[in-house]
Symmetry: C2
Subunit: 158 residues, 2 copies
DNA sequence: TTCTTTGCAAATCGTTTGCAGCATG
DNA sequence: CATGCTGCAAACGATTTGCAAAGAA
């Protein structure tokens, strides 16, 4: 997401109002790269702004997503996560325990084909889905029946 | 996801049972690349297997995700989508109307850094977030205040 | 027969909505 | 002082759970 100043300009330009709630939520989110859920943020904000309601938090988060300032995604744990980091980056996600690890490096963006011409791309992310070391060891995994054969190729580190 | 035969083997190997419900859900999902929600699938399956319950559908979908056979993701529309396509591919997602377009091409996977060593990668996806032509035109977009400056660079088509 | 899975109904829980009061511009 | 925003309480809706009955192996 962009700076508080830019967001302030945008809201004012639209005839909106820059309230203390919006400011605080923006600040809290801007510095948080832990992929928080709405509730994570609520827990952190409530002590600072005790009057804050979940309703306001949700509506503020939703408008940020709609404005393209924040990315909303789901790691598979059934909770909606928010990420203010629009820098192209990659995430490695465990399909069983839903742990997410950020990877700052990213491959070059590809040439998008013609049938998506006209799309204005705001950000890009890569996701590597798999099983973390702990979950691989789980005896419940049917993957173990097959062995390692399914792992997709990743280049050797040089 | 892998073939019905492979799934059958896996379930049996675990002491599980290959029921008519599981078979039908597997078949329906395997051929569906439209990113269906649980309800989408339910609507399609109900006429074929009238006794089917949502409970069973959810538990079958959940186990497929947990087994790493299907990817669960959220486009931002508030619904959980399922994708049996584990072929690395890219998606272009509109942040306002939540439309998803598949892009078959994909960039080369990157070398994953050391702190994710030990992860068994099953699949990879790239996501390009932005605004589709229709949503760009929306007067509500604060993006228009800023202009085109934010669009990230994508290479020219050659 | 044994043990997993199914399906119903009820519970759960994250998120949204309606509306009156409040605060920003 | 006009209007957009907030917060409460209630509604909502997708998903999960408990448990008895059904059906694979």
């Amino acid at each position: 997401m962009r700076s508080i100043d830019v967001l302030t300009q945008i809201v004012r330009a639209r005839g909106g109002k820059v309230t203390s709630q919006r400011l605080l939520i923006w600040q809290m989110l801007a510095q948080d790269h832990s992929h928080p859920t709405a509730d994570d943020l609520y827990v952190r904000l409530k002590p600072i702004l005790p009057g804050l309601s979940l309703t306001t938090l949700y509506s503020t988060l939703n408008e940020l997503v709609e404005w393209g300032e924040v990315r909303r995604f789901d790691t598979g744990d059934g909770h909606t996560h928010f990420d203010p980091d629009l820098t192209p980056h990659a995430e490695v996600i465990c399909m069983r325990c839903h742990r997410v690890m950020d990877v700052p490096e990213v491959t070059q963006p590809m040439v998008l084909p013609d049938h998506v011409a006209g799309f204005q791309i705001v950000t890009r992310s890569e996701q590597y889905y798999g099983f973390c070391p702990i979950c691989q060891a789980s005896a419940l995994s049917p993957i173990s029946v097959i062995g390692e054969a399914r792992a997709i190729q990743t280049p050797e580190r040089s």
